[in-house]
């Protein structure tokens, strides 16, 4: 750092797009430069008054609390929690949404990983749980948690997203809601498990098999059909989530992980995989996750979660504390593969600048993007737009609505699912007091 040569000098902190977006290269490993810029800010009167004299607080003067066997966040973080749709466990499904606007980086902590459960959380004894693979195979086989634990494993970063994530944005008017309410049915973890192809190697595959159905041990025996092509590509029987056993709300003791495919297909508590010659047309693929299109047709088997991004900082629920430097950051991901580019606009899409992508950029996983920004205190509209390595680009809202439609009446319930697979851009409008609203632009 101290021996930086002149050719490594950062670009000047000149705006690269409208309303104060700065060159992304100013951010990459160059904290000293930013500090210098902040000083320049002070000189131009944009920073606050001098700090108060320092003192010792009580926690610096006595021994602290006992160290717990399993630690949880500080009591001061009590508001960093999932929002739940069914806290009294009534006889219906339950959602718990990830607070993206309160998190950073790319890994969703296990306690905050989103859950949709259609019949509560089963209390599964891992010693009793079995996974059977049968149907159009040469030899049906039964596996246990213990036996799978002896198999060669892989560890991969992947997001899981409910295909109803962001569904309130089908509303004809922007619902005033946070990134948690709008986009909280998507989370990202490091998954460890056994490739399904390894197990299918052992059962053998009858050439007539074109699909498999995967079924859970939950009370609904939730099942989905998966093309054999996907099963042999990157499907995994996942046993671990961020290093520990999978959470009950995410499929304990094992789930089918289908990287990049809609969340519901990643069958939790998976107990049965049957190879079949036709799709099962299960309740969820035949109804819930089949979308009605504006022309009166319906899509079947829209499996891929397409390229998407949204800004988490700043976003609805936060406010800006006066003009000056801020880092815009957010999450981008695609079920097609790696994120290749994210652009950010501060003027509602009139001009765009390329954001920095936090390495490593994993396929079918969250990528954090960052963009330095100097806010001049005037109203702005912040947006992000992502591209992936397949060449797919996140559609602008007008493009998306033209193809997929929107509701006739505004959606007022953030828990509503007017349709599925919304992946257009999110716009945050910031007024001259620093207040943030959800807008369409």
């Amino acid at each position: 750092m101290s021996n930086r040569k002149s050719r490594n000098q950062p670009p000047p902190m000149e705006p690269v797009a409208g309303n104060g977006l700065l060159d992304r290269r100013a951010l990459l490993g160059r904290g000293i430069i930013l500090a210098g810029t902040a000083a320049a800010g002070a000189a131009s009167g944009l920073t606050s008054a001098a700090a108060e004299p320092l003192k010792n607080d009580p926690w610096s003067l006595e021994m602290g609390a006992v160290v717990p066997p399993y630690q949880v966040p500080s009591r001061f973080e009590k508001d960093v929690i999932r929002t739940r749709s069914n806290p009294n466990n009534e006889f219906r499904n339950s959602h718990a949404r990830t607070p993206h606007h309160l998190l950073q980086g790319t890994v969703t902590p296990n306690g905050l990983f989103f859950t949709i459960s259609h019949s509560g959380l089963p209390d599964i004894d891992p010693a009793q749980h079995k996974l059977v693979i049968h149907g159009l195979v040469k030899q049906p086989l039964v596996y246990t948690v213990e036996s799978l634990s002896r198999y060669p494993m892989v560890t991969r970063m992947h997001f899981v997203e409910c295909s109803g994530n962001s569904a309130p944005m089908f509303s004809s008017e922007p619902l005033q809601a946070s990134a948690q309410a709008l986009h909280g049915l998507c989370s990202n973890a490091e998954w460890t498990g056994v490739l399904l192809s390894t197990l299918l190697e052992e059962t053998g595959i009858d050439p007539k098999a074109k699909w498999l159905l995967a079924e859970g041990a939950d009370s609904l025996a939730l099942h989905r059909s998966v093309p054999i092509k996907k099963a042999l590509d990157d499907a995994m029987i996942a046993l671990y989530q961020n290093g520990e056993r999978i959470q009950p709300g995410n499929g304990y003791p094992m789930r089918l992980l289908l990287p990049g495919y809609q969340g519901n297909m990643n069958v939790k508590h998976v107990r049965r995989i049957k190879l079949i010659d036709q799709p099962a047309m299960s309740f969820y693929e035949a109804k819930t996750y089949s979308q009605i299109l504006p022309d009166g047709k319906m899509w079947l088997f829209h499996f891929t979660q397409e390229v998407k991004s949204f800004i988490t900082h700043p976003s609805f629920g936060q406010s800006l504390k006066g003009p000056g430097f801020y880092e815009i950051s957010g999450i981008a991901y695609s079920g097609n593969g790696r994120i290749s580019k994210v652009a950010v606009s501060a003027d509602g899409g009139k001009s765009w600048a390329q954001a920095a992508l936090q390495e490593p950029v994993n396929p079918k996983a969250f990528t954090r993007f960052r963009m330095p920004w100097r806010w001049d205190g005037q109203p702005v509209v912040l947006q992000s737009r992502a591209w992936d390595e397949s060449g797919a680009v996140q559609p602008l809202r007008a493009e998306f609505v033209a193809a997929r439609g929107q509701t006739e009446k505004p959606v007022t319930n953030p828990l509503a699912f007017p349709n599925q697979h919304y992946n257009s851009i999110t716009s945050w409008g910031i007024d001259n007091t620093g207040g943030i609203k959800h807008v369409y632009a």
């Binding site: 049906p140 039964v142 093309p227 047309m281 309740f283 009605i292 047709k297 319906m298 079947l300």
Partner: protein, 175 residues
């Protein structure tokens, strides 16, 4: 990979360490299809998996009234708050049209979801005749079948659902 006999392959793998199959541990225990029967409950669109038994709409009506109506509403309409009706128009002209039974491409989906998931508080307690009767009753309420039509493993897959021809596969190359 698709043609090898796995048990033989595992034996060979032990005998000839270094072959490709030696990479899989072979810890799955063989099981017969007969011993999977309790879990093997799906009904496929072509009727594969449908069990013996039968039922008519009039046989289904009292079962529905006793075990289904408290959530899904009497006669399939006016459900309890937060639950789905079982009857609705077969017209899906808005992107947020509520989907009821007429949305399904195949009638087997209805039978399957009752068999595996319903009644919600005590799933997998209905007999096969009851499931056929409930399927018949709900299809009849929607006027998809006649009031006296019997549903069984042969007739259920032949039911022509009203929305069947409106589906398109999103990306056939991914299947």
């Amino acid at each position: 990979m698709c043609t090898r006999k796995p048990l033989l392959a595992l034996v060979l793998a032990v005998a000839f360490a270094g072959t490709a199959a030696a990479e899989t541990p072979g810890l799955g225990k063989p099981i017969s299809e007969a011993d999977i029967a309790a879990w093997n409950i799906e009904a496929l669109p072509d009727g594969n998996g449908l069990p013996p038994g039968s039922g008519t709409p009039s046989q289904g009506a009292p079962i529905y009234a006793q075990k289904c109506a408290m959530c899904h509403g009497e006669n399939g309409v006016n459900p309890a708050r937060g639950y789905s009706p079982m009857v609705g128009p077969a017209k899906f002209d808005r992107i947020d049209t509520f989907k009821t039974v007429p949305y399904y491409k195949y009638a087997t989906t209805l039978f399957d979801v009752i068999r595996r998931s319903m009644p919600y508080q005590m799933p997998k307690t209905l007999g096969n005749d009851e499931i056929y009767a409930l399927s018949a009753y709900i299809l009849s309420l929607n006027k998809i079948i006649g009031e006296n039509e019997m549903m069984d493993a042969k007739t259920l897959p032949q039911v022509k659902m009203p929305n069947r021809d409106n589906f398109v596969i999103w990306a056939p190359d991914k299947i």
